[in-house]
């Protein structure tokens, strides 16, 4: 198992690449969700303010 994780001496390069890919995927998901929540909140605040004004 340890030998497999060592990737025949290229472990640092292989695992760093996969770790980077994981970070990029998590970041993309998080940003997409955060953007949507922010857009929704912005619209909600605006519309509720208009409703109160009316």
């Amino acid at each position: 198992m340890i030998e497999k994780l060592g990737m025949s001496g290229y472990g640092f390069y292989v695992w760093t690449s996969f770790a980077l890919a994981f970070i990029v995927m998590v970041w993309n998901e998080w940003r997409a969700r955060r953007r949507f929540r922010a857009a929704w909140r912005e619209v909600e605040v605006r519309i509720k303010a208009l409703e109160d004004h009316e």
Binding site: S17, R35, A39, E42, I47
Partner: protein, 250 residues
Amino acid sequence: MWKFLHQFASPPHVYRLAKTLVPWLALPGYGLLIYGTIAGLFFAPPDYQQKDAFRIVYVHAPAAYLSMMAYMVMAVAGGIGLIWRMKLAHAVAASAAPLGASFTFLALATGSIWGRPMWGTWWEWGDPRLMSELILLFLYIGYMALRNAIDDTAKADKASAVLALVGAVNVPVIHYSVEWWTSLHQTSTLLDEGGPAMDAAMLYPLFANIIGLTLVFGALLLRRVRSEVLKRERRTRWVRDLVLNPGAAG
């Protein structure tokens, strides 16, 4: 036919359709990525020359492919927005840019990490494949900076679409750079004339990751499009109804 196509110019229709499609793209997409990653890391045999270092291909190749595909989505959507004045197309283009930039960064970073043990260098400034991919990253950054610099959305849409269309010339340059010029980068393994030059045990996980990442890109793009549509349509009646009755309007 035209009625069917016209639906895609309707923001409420696209907003609801995107919500429906996201899980159908994300779930199989992430499933394929999990399969491709596990099979690529632990079950594919090592390469006879590169040994286990070749496994970086399971991250690098899908990211590089998506970096170009996202740009084409951005440029085509920008072009549609310019020609047919379709605001939704500009929303798609704006949504594709940060995703494409992140995949370009990943392709460059993993390529550099792969290059160190294989070529003996992290980076080669004179290499056409590396430089054209770096230009692609600058194009994405320029596109996003241009959009952020212009307050008027309509003007930002037009200016950024022109930039996206002009920059599209770089995409075939990236693809053919290894054939047109001398490069450290290998020629295409998958699009070889005689078929993919890889063993099936290596190839299937790679295909799984390429298809999986494409589906995930679709899901992420649609999520971002929904945010863009909400922001752009914030003054409309349907958004007002949606916010006041989120359950009823979907």
